[in-house]
Symmetry: C2
Subunit: 261 residues, 2 copies
């Protein structure tokens, strides 16, 4: 039987809520928070689970996911009442929560250089957009992602939208994207920046090369001029309709699709 926590003032509960709510706490502790049966199981498949919390109701309903999580978690607590309420961040909580170790990404740049189709995301600010783009990247078979100036990948909304893909897809974070794009070009990558500008090359008529990386920019302002200038080509998605209607993650999906096509 696992130890029961009922108080929201419990130190374990307070730590979990802190890493859930604060990017700074996640960075300092090297931990992040996941909620829900599927997401916690996905996390356990990709990283170490430090603490698992579950409610009695969850034990009845999600036996299979919990059996896996029981095996993989360092510490396990049953929660109820105010403690469970304090952990939940969703409208219909499933009663499964875990605190996981953030991933060590120090080897990722060499993995990423070995892939042939990549995306770079610059200043994506909305966590749900970031999660949705990475989820689609994984589905289409994009090899990895370079992030610069984006919101925290361990933000709970990003994790929810990504359905585990933020933990599975190789990723690196860089400070200087123009310099990074120049490095990719030196290594033989075709480097592209995407833009809605009609003067850019039609992506369906552009030779994308064997190895390609394409930058996708901020939801409102697009790719920065410095980064666009550092790329070999500018490409656009030609659109027959009311182009301003295409939202950022849909545009990214079409660019990635063309990259992989």
């Amino acid at each position: 039987m696992h130890e029961l926590i009922t108080s929201k003032a419990n130190e374990k509960i307070k730590l979990a809520a802190r890493v859930r709510d604060s990017a700074k706490a996640r960075r300092e502790e090297g931990l992040f928070f996941a909620e829900g049966a599927r997401l916690c199981a996905d996390a356990a498949g990709s990283t170490a689970v430090k603490t698992l919390f579950y409610t009695e109701k969850a034990a009845e309903k999600y036996g299979e996911e919990l059996a896996l999580l029981f095996e993989k978690s360092d510490e396990i607590y049953l929660v109820s009442g105010a403690a469970a309420d304090r952990l939940s961040d969703t409208f219909s909580p499933q009663g499964i929560f875990c605190v996981c170790k953030t991933l060590d990404k120090s080897n990722n740049i060499s993995i990423i250089y070995s892939k042939s189709k990549l995306i770079a995301l610059e200043n994506i600010q909305d966590p749900s957009n970031l999660g949705a783009v990475i989820r689609t990247a994984e589905a289409l078979g994009v090899g990895g992602a370079v992030l610069c100036g984006c919101c925290d990948i361990y933000n709970p909304k990003a994790q929810r939208a990504a359905m585990g893909s933020l933990l599975r897809l190789p990723m690196v974070t860089v400070d200087d994207l123009p310099q990074t794009m120049a490095m990719f070009a030196e290594r033989g990558f075709m480097t592209l920046s995407s833009t809605p500008d009609a003067a850019a090359d039609d992506i369906t008529k552009t030779d994308l090369g064997e190895k390609t990386i394409c930058v996708i920019g901020n939801e409102g302002s697009g790719v920065t001029e410095a980064t666009a200038n550092s790329c070999l080509k500018r490409v656009r998605v030609p659109m027959g309709g009311r182009a301003e209607s295409l939202n950022a993650s849909m545009a990214a999906a079409i660019i990635m699709w063309e990259l992989m096509r």
Copy 2:
């Protein structure tokens, strides 16, 4: 100066909340509800606004949109307090709400037959998905949509996700989609049903013809067997990665993109 409503028991407020919350009320009254400066302005561009409600704060912030709405609305009320709270359905209300007439779609089938690229949506149940797919269809230049068994297009969540496109894109609702697809085939359309099934034709290698209509199915269960059987071909989106990760509206975006490419 417009008449002020402060009580949530006011008949105009009660009608607005009723058509906001109930598909049955929308059908019976021939009315729907829109909230927010941009969405109300979009609605006024596509249909008649029966009643406009606005708060004093909105008048300061959204002067431009309100000027347009003042011109186009049959009745206009200033709202405050409990009345404004009763109308709002969002986390950060802008204080602009309107009740609009649903569109007369009786002529749409002849408009739709005149287009060359169309989609049919079968049993799409999530209003946000329905709105997102129609928004993308409009952006890419798809000519219109045939709906069968989908959720109500006037659902506030669908309207929010669609950003006005549900009012602009030609649409018809049909009861018998297999019969409708057979009619499109008789009129010279290539009729397609989309499926994740590996036995289906690769959409990138399929001759889609001059005039094409493609069925996109329910988020979980896909296109029904009866409808798939009524189409000339089954097509799939070939995916290099973890295909189960692609969400329904992203898959629909890629299908529509290939249709228009």
